[in-house]
């Protein structure tokens, strides 16, 4: 027991003590529910919670995860993420780039573009619900779909419509993210490239983008995770319809848990969602590992 060891042990003990409240909070509100949810998946939920549940082990997991319903809702969720995340990032970046121009009144544009971050999902969904109304909605007339049942009742266009609402909502967040990143770019590198005669397009592609890669990577990871968890807009616009066209994984989970009173089924979906997101995040880390450059 050298004095150095004792000192380091004491430092470690202090460190653990200081982390303890945060770990306790995480344990109580994140880890424990996670484990409990996985455990719930081993039981067939009774019709109402006061009755005993039947233990079925992995059978429920196999049944749910092997069903075509699960595959379909997973596919829809994937499609939804593909529609919303790249578009959100690209539009946010494009607008942020434009808003960097030093012209008078540009601050007004910056406020407008970032304003969607201040709207709640519920408010945005209600506004878009009216805009997409077949009788009086402006967007219905714009897309030539006035009268009839409207875009949200059309099985082919319901998911793109919900994606549109989501992209609109996400633009504010990605705009702010990209603006901050663009403003933190080192001026000297850009100046040097201008002097060397690089066109603005080449400058953007060869210098700006690689320098922005950490932020793009961050936006992609956050975007995918929140895309998989998008709920509010679906609940207010289409309620999973028409004919399951917008039934993404989270909404299926919600329906099973609260409309069909089947928390066992919902627990399986919840665990599946967790592992899918974990996998996707690891995949993104692995993919971007070589491509993301963090400074010099």
């Amino acid at each position: 027991m050298t004095p150095r060891f004792i000192r380091r042990a004491r430092e470690a003990a202090l460190a653990y003590l200081l982390i303890l409240p945060a770990v306790a909070a995480f344990g109580l509100f994140v880890f424990y529910p996670l484990v409990k949810t996985a455990y719930l998946g081993f039981f067939l939920a009774p019709p109402t919670p006061n009755l005993p549940s039947h233990y079925v082990g992995l059978q429920q997991y196999q049944q749910v995860l092997g069903s075509s319903d699960f595959r379909d809702s997973l596919g829809r969720t994937g499609l939804f993420v593909l529609l919303t995340v790249p578009a959100g990032i690209v539009l946010g970046l494009a607008l942020a780039n434009l808003a960097q121009k030093k012209v008078p009144g540009i601050r007004a544009f910056r406020t407008i573009y970032s304003s969607t971050v201040a709207t709640s999902v519920a408010v945005a969904s209600v506004v878009f619900f009216t805009l997409l109304n077949p009788e009086v909605g402006l967007l219905s007339y714009l897309f030539g779909k006035e009268g009839g049942n409207g875009i949200l009742a059309d099985p082919h266009w319901a998911l793109p419509a919900v994606a549109l609402v989501t992209i609109w909502q996400n633009i504010g967040f990605t705009f702010i993210l990209m603006s901050a990143a663009l403003q933190s770019l080192p001026e000297d590198v850009l100046e040097a490239s201008k002097v060397d005669g690089a066109s603005s397009f080449v400058r953007f592609r060869q210098i700006t983008l690689p320098l922005l890669s950490p932020i793009l990577f961050f936006a992609a990871v956050i975007g995918v995770i929140s895309g998989f968890q998008a709920f509010g807009q679906i609940d207010l616009l289409t309620q999973g319809g028409p004919n399951h066209a917008t039934l993404v994984l989270i909404y299926d989970l919600y329906q099973q848990a609260f409309q069909f009173n089947n928390p066992g089924y919902a627990a399986v979906l919840s665990v599946a969602l967790f592992f899918i997101l974990l996998l996707l995040t690891f995949a993104q880390f692995w993919f971007f590992q070589r491509r993301v450059s963090y400074g010099d």
Binding site: P46, N50, Q239, N243, H244, F258, Q259
Partner: protein, 483 residues
Amino acid sequence: MTENDWDRTAGAKEGGASLGRHVISRRDLLRGATAAGIGAGLTLLVPGAASAAASKFPLGAAAKAKSKPAVITMWHSMTSANLTTLTNLTNQFNSSQSDVHVNLVAQTSYTDTLTAYTTALSGGTLPDVVQWENELIQILIDSQSVVPAASAIAADHYSFSDFVPSMVDYFKVDGTQWAMPFNISSQVLYYDQNALTKAGLDPTNPPANLAALRAAAQKIVSSGAAKYGMSLKLDYTNFELWMALGGQTFLNDNNGRSGRATAVTFDDSLGKSIFDWWGGMLKDNLAQSTSFTAFDNLLAIGSGIAPITIDTSAALGTIISVLSGGQYPNVKLGVTSLPLPTAKRSKKGGAFVGGAGLYMVKKSTPATVDASWQFIKFLASPQSQATWASGTGYVPIRKSAVNLAPLAATWAAQPGFKVAYKQLLASPPNPATAGSVTGAAPELLVAINNALTTLASGGSPESAIAQAAQNSNTAISSYNERV
């Protein structure tokens, strides 16, 4: 311990008793007694069974209680005019006697009641009386948390002779009367008489069956009276009602009433013909499809897009007040009973009831259970029903209520209110007209509505009904597994 053990005729054994022809030995008596003792002990272990098995209903406990009044809560889902009428009735009850005081708690919608109740079942406070939507009846039965109305009815020698039979029968499952009806409605055909006249049809003789309805829609469209003949709300209830009107069950095991239903029966020839009709109307642009949650179909009558639709009789009060506001001056409202699914009337066919019933929740204090029954009886009395039906547009559950004020006056002024009542009164009592019962009702709603949605986007009726049947059967068997 079976009856066979008692049924021994093999001569008297040492000191046995004799019960007529059957001679029971002392050993048998001892065996019987221990078995009964064990049986009684086991029932005490099953929660709730003790009170059901051992009790009579605690009739009169509220009046005899030491602390008065017995305060009870009722969870309901009534809003606007219905809420006002219910509140007035409750205040009337509270001030008319001192044994029971009722507090109303509004849950806004039937789904909110379901959510709140199931949450309360896992450790919250349950109400004493709950207004529970009809389709969800099996879930409440399976929760084992309510006292069947049958026990109160038996103890109180309560008579149903004045009740409309179909309204009572809905709440009878597997031989037990589980609840008392309260707010009952039915689907009816709403139409604009002026539009029918314009199309060359007789407004006093609206279509009586699906074929006539299609022909009327054709005339309306071709004459230019409106863009569509009718609005078809994406509502599975209409499909189920047409099956019942055709005298067919929706689920097996007598619509789930003689035993737990295990599969659907609606994919028979009648069901297919209804789907064919539905798909044909939409494909040929004779009808427009409207959403399940909105009232676009009623608005379409007002705006002249589609002058006919099917919707709940409970909306009639609101429709009348909207029309009397003068926004739609060209509309002359007509209300009639649902068109039959076939040209020939089925003798067994009839409509089942919509709406909700009142259930007594199991409580440990006899006074509150009795108090719940007293309040439910009050709400089911002829005078209360006359007031209730008059103020809301729901149909009265008591036949004698139709002659009482204020209902008699309301019906004289607005004969449209009588349509749903007459439709339900004419329903012959049988499993088909009693309505279907299954715990998977929420999933069936989604499955059938989805199938109807495919019709709206041009899908074939055969695949739609097959899809509905398959998804419904999966949902029913997975629910039954969980019980």
